[in-house]
């Protein structure tokens, strides 16, 4: 793809900036919106990595359902006012940021952490299509069918658990 470096750099910068703004902002609603922006950027990066199905699923599930759930809870608990949660004057934020920067510098500096041993496979735009994902998910010879069925039970358990956790004790 010709435009992949341009897409990568623009989306990488926007997603990192949105993530930093999410962490730095005191208003939880604005943090949630910055996180939605990060998710959308990551979805475009998935498109650049020829994972079309996962990109669409990322927008539908993460940005369209999970973050809406977050916004509901924030709004229902009425935590929009920044005065509600005041952070104490400790050294913890600075220590966290400092160590985080140290980690990023270590990551960028050490080649052995990020160098991938084998050469890259040739670009294959058919790799992430729905047909490809579906055939590999449901193939009887591959190990993905059983976790897929177990995931449905997991989601059922999560639904039951969430309802029990959040219902009023009458």
């Amino acid at each position: 793809m010709i435009a992949e470096p341009i897409i990568f750099w623009i989306m990488a910068v926007i997603s990192v900036v949105a993530a930093i703004l999410m962490v730095a902002n005191r208003n939880p609603v604005r943090s949630a919106l910055f996180l939605v922006a990060t998710f959308l950027c990551v979805a475009v990066l998935y498109l650049a990595l020829t994972a079309q199905f996962i990109a669409a699923i990322q927008i539908i599930v993460y940005a369209g359902a999970i973050m809406v759930l977050f916004l509901f809870v924030i709004m229902l608990l009425n935590l929009g006012a920044p005065q509600a949660l005041r952070e104490r004057g400790t050294i913890q934020p600075f220590a966290a940021v400092g160590l985080g920067l140290l980690f990023i510098i270590a990551l960028l500096g050490s080649e052995s952490l990020i160098r991938v041993p084998r050469p890259a496979a040739p670009a294959n735009p058919d790799l992430g299509t729905v047909q490809s994902v579906g055939l590999n998910l449901f193939a009887p010879t591959l190990p993905w069918l059983f976790p897929f069925e177990v995931t449905s039970i997991l989601l059922l358990v999560a639904i039951v658990g969430a309802i029990i956790m959040a219902k009023r004790r009458v």
Partner: protein, 100 residues
Amino acid sequence: MVPTSYYLVLSGILFTIGVIGVLIKRNPIVIFMCIELMLNAANLSFIALGRHFGQVNGQMYVIFALSVAAAEVSVGLGIIVAIFRTKETINIDEVNLMKY
């Protein structure tokens, strides 16, 4: 084609920002959002490496990580709502009943 190590570095940076958020913030909902950011960073590196090796396995892992994250968010937010209902505050410095 953008080298895969660039995607891995981006994934590491997003993960670190998520960790910083978990350490700094006092509001458990925002901490949860930073955990979601960390999960996304891991998903990004899965897909980048999947594309690097030319396999669909990376995307398979991401599908399952996505569904587990969705389940986890629903239960976690239910717990937070339950705590808020009894304690009227969710500043995690004050929700420390298990300390004594």
